[in-house]
């Protein structure tokens, strides 16, 4: 290959472009315009700060600390808890129909967000800090668990049929989300363990690694994950 051909090859790299959605999302984020967008108040916009970062998995790992997400999970729980009490008290007469419709819409929006989170989960594997990514899967799993409990509570309150159908969809997606995060977590731990085995570790870290492997073999991923995260932090 001569110089001219080489330059031509280099020039082909011009075609590397960022994703358009990411470009506009980041622009809004830099200028802090997310909060300025006026939308009708509904459950998804109320929880927008929880769902939006998950549309950018790369960002999740860097910016969201697990505690915030746990808090968000609790918030989902409390918010839906409030809705539960509303349902239980609803007399289901005509004037309340609008409220039922609104709730159905909100649940449908949660459903959309859950699907987005689920499809973003895979990208977590490519993030720069796998250790943080692991924490995110753990939080997602915990949130899905809480969501499932909440859905059960709402169902126990005999909601109207329209709401029930959407609830079932949400419940199924939560289950799928839990399973996906479990599998991805397993895969990431597996890769981390393999990678760590190739490294020169201190005696203390070797012990942690051995224990993490044991936990992993027993299917205790959370414990394995905690130990992995402590490897390399001997100060």
């Amino acid at each position: 290959m001569d110089e001219r051909q080489l330059i031509k090859k280099i020039k082909t790299l011009k075609q590397i472009k960022p994703n358009k959605d990411w470009v506009s999302f980041t622009k809004r984020e830099i200028f802090g315009e997310k909060g300025e967008i006026k939308e009708s108040p509904n459950l998804r916009t109320t929880l927008g700060w929880l769902f939006t970062p998950v549309q950018r998995p790369a960002l999740v790992v860097r910016t969201l600390i697990a505690g915030v997400l746990i808090l968000a999970g609790v918030f989902v729980y409390l918010y839906l808890g409030a809705l539960t009490s509303q349902i239980v008290q609803l007399p289901f007469i005509a004037e309340k129909r609008a409220e039922v419709e609104a709730m159905k819409t909100s649940l449908a929006e949660i459903q959309v967000s859950l699907v987005e989170i689920k499809s973003s989960l895979n990208n977590l594997k490519n993030t720069r800090n796998l250790s943080q990514a692991l924490s995110v899967t753990e939080v997602i799993r915990a949130t899905a668990n809480r969501g499932e409990e909440t859905v059960k509570q709402i169902k126990a309150g005999s909601p109207p049929k329209k709401v029930l159908a959407t609830l079932t969809e949400v419940e199924n997606t939560l289950k799928e989300l839990k399973e996906s995060s479990y599998h991805i977590q397993k895969e990431m731990i597996e890769n981390l363990l393999a990678d760590l085995k190739k490294r020169d570790l201190t005696e203390e870290d070797q012990e942690r690694l051995g224990k993490a492997q044991e936990y992993y073999n027993e299917g205790r991923y959370t414990e394995a994950m905690i130990l992995i995260q402590r490897i390399g932090n001997n100060n």
Partner: protein, 173 residues
């Protein structure tokens, strides 16, 4: 503030592709490139909105990008992470024929990996000269070197890249 926002929005639109590409060529994945690029512009905007005098905005953005990439590689060396090499290059208009696309992708990956083997300054001058289309004078300003020094650097970088690439067979070559 509104005026500054508008101005920086224009800067963002003008440079986002270039900075993203510059970063992407030095890291392993699209996600990391996105993270680092957003840090570059966030830092750029923080300084810009203070009304501080930035003489050469492109040089300034590339300077942040270089520092962020260096930080990223330093962090990565400190903490155990799995190394992955990009096998897919994000392009806007893939060729319609899937076989052609695959071939094209494979060429892009090959040239990206060859470039990554050069030292940082060599990578940068080649990207700026042949991908971003900057003149030797502009590159000299960005690097704080003379025009002559940049010319020599480009020449040496091309020579080294040629040797690296000749070891690898490109599709269609």
């Amino acid at each position: 503030m509104g005026n500054l926002k508008e101005k920086f929005a224009k800067i963002y639109d003008k440079y986002v592709d270039k900075i993203y590409r510059f970063v992407f060529l030095k890291v392993e994945s699209q996600e990391i490139a996105e993270d680092l690029t957003s840090i570059v512009f966030t830092k750029g905007w923080k300084k810009f909105k203070k009304g501080e005098d930035i003489k050469n905005i492109s040089a300034y953005l590339y300077q942040i990008a270089r520092a962020e990439i260096a930080n990223y590689h330093r962090e990565r060396a400190k903490f155990p992470t799995i190394s992955t090499e990009a096998t897919q290059i994000p392009i806007v208009d893939p060729k319609p024929n899937s076989e052609q696309t695959q071939e094209f992708q494979s060429d892009l990956v090959t040239i990206k990996n060859c470039l990554a083997k050069l030292n940082n300054n060599y990578q940068d001058v080649l990207v700026w000269r042949y991908i971003d289309g900057y003149s030797n004078k502009e590159i000299a300003e960005m690097l704080g070197k003379s025009k002559g020094a940049v010319r020599v650097m480009i020449h040496r970088a091309l020579k080294e890249l040629k040797e690296l690439c000749n070891e690898i067979r490109f599709s269609g070559s």
